[in-house]
Amino acid sequence: MATNPMHQFEVYKIGPEINLGGINLSFTNSSLFMVISSALILLLLFFGTKRKSLVPSKIQLVTEMSYTFIAKMINDTAGSNAKTFFPFIFTLFMFVLFSNMVGMLPYSFTVTSHIIVTFVLAAMVFIGVTILGFVKHGIKYLELFVPKGVPMALLPLIIIIEIISYLSRPVSLSVRLFANMMAGHTMLKVFGGFVISLGLLGGWLPLGFSVALTGLEILVAFLQAYVFAILTCIYLNDALNLHH
């Protein structure tokens, strides 16, 4: 019978409980799938860079294509002086992408379907970008909140709106990814449950839906990783170049 579609998001600990000063740091299924995603990324990169042949093998082509894909994205959105942040954005993109993709496997756990995980990632970006902005421009970084060519009367209102929009960046960034992943997986589960409950007679329609949704979810998994990375690039561009 259909189980609770939210059951797949349940976090439970694997192995012994680890408690450091009253803080629960147990190894959970979430941690396990973070490790699995990372291991898959490292495996891909390992085999992709094993033989650096002139004419790349398929796996080497995949790594080099992802490399050039991210490099081009950074160059297009944040300019060439954002190259120092390439490793971070590359890691971020690969981690989110692989977490999403691994989550597409049946019986797996989607790391990015948890708001706390996406929020930590978004907060890393947000804090990093803010620190970078202040280091690079000093107090002038606050000019980000004062758009040019706005009438004096409207300025206080605009500044407040700008500050709110700036502060809501990590929230929107994290909620976007989390909500997409959760919604998709919930729907998959719901339709999967319908297949069972409607049985052999009526189950074909939700099954077809499930198949179509799986394709859509794979697209979303890639798209959300891309969106996460490109928004990071855009925030980085604000911090580095400071023109509105």
Binding site: A2, M34, T49, Y67, T186, V190
Partner: protein
């Protein structure tokens, strides 16, 4: 589209959770494992970041740069080879043209030389022939002259002998000779 999906998902969640009445709420909002997730995320992500940054990206960069420079080098080399090939072709054409010119010159020279030789030989032969002719003419003249004097002698002797036979006495030889000479002088134009 995404918002619709999200709303659908949430709606279906409420629908299902109401109908089954199992665990309430989203597990995402249960803070029990938040610290654990934060800790493990930061740990795993940092390790992944460090490994990618320090180990793999330099390799990929090297590989891509290597290929790029290799391609550029190859293109350069191809361009160079092409240029040198064109140069060689030009040289080759030049050589062919030169040799053609030379051959023509040699042929022309040969023809000219032959012409000159032929001309020389002709002239030489002509002069020789003329010389020979002159010699022959001279000889003929001399022969004629000598033959005339011989004829005179013979005529004188024959006539003296004939006279002797006819008249039976010796004739004064000098007289006969004088007469023959005289006749000869008179008729010289008739024989020669």
């Amino acid at each position: 589209m995404k918002n619709l999906c999200f709303a659908l998902g949430i709606a279906s969640f409420f629908f299902v959770s109401n109908s089954y009445g199992s665990e309430a709420g989203m597990p995402q909002l249960n803070p029990e494992f938040w610290t654990s997730q934060i800790f493990w995320l930061i740990l795993v992500f940092s390790i992944l970041y460090l490994i990618i940054w320090k180990v793999f990206l330099p390799k990929i960069t090297y590989s891509i740069e290597n290929r790029k420079s290799r391609v550029v080098n190859d293109l350069d080399e191809a361009q160079k080879l092409k240029e040198s090939a064109e140069k060689k072709l030009k040289e080759y054409n030049q050589i062919i043209e030169n040799s053609k010119k030379e051959a023509k010159k040699i042929i022309d020279d040969g023809i000219k030389k032959l012409d000159r030789d032929i001309e020389n030989k002709k002239q030489k032969f002509n002069t020789e022939i003329e010389k020979e002719l002159a010699n022959v003419e001279k000889e003929i003249k001399e022969l004629k002259k000598s033959s005339i004097s011989n004829i005179n002698k013979i005529a004188a002797e024959t006539s003296s002998e004939i006279i002797q036979q006819i008249i039976g006495t010796d004739v004064n030889k000098s007289n006969v000779t004088a007469i023959v000479d005289d006749i000869l002088k008179k008729n010289l134009g008739k024989y020669i």
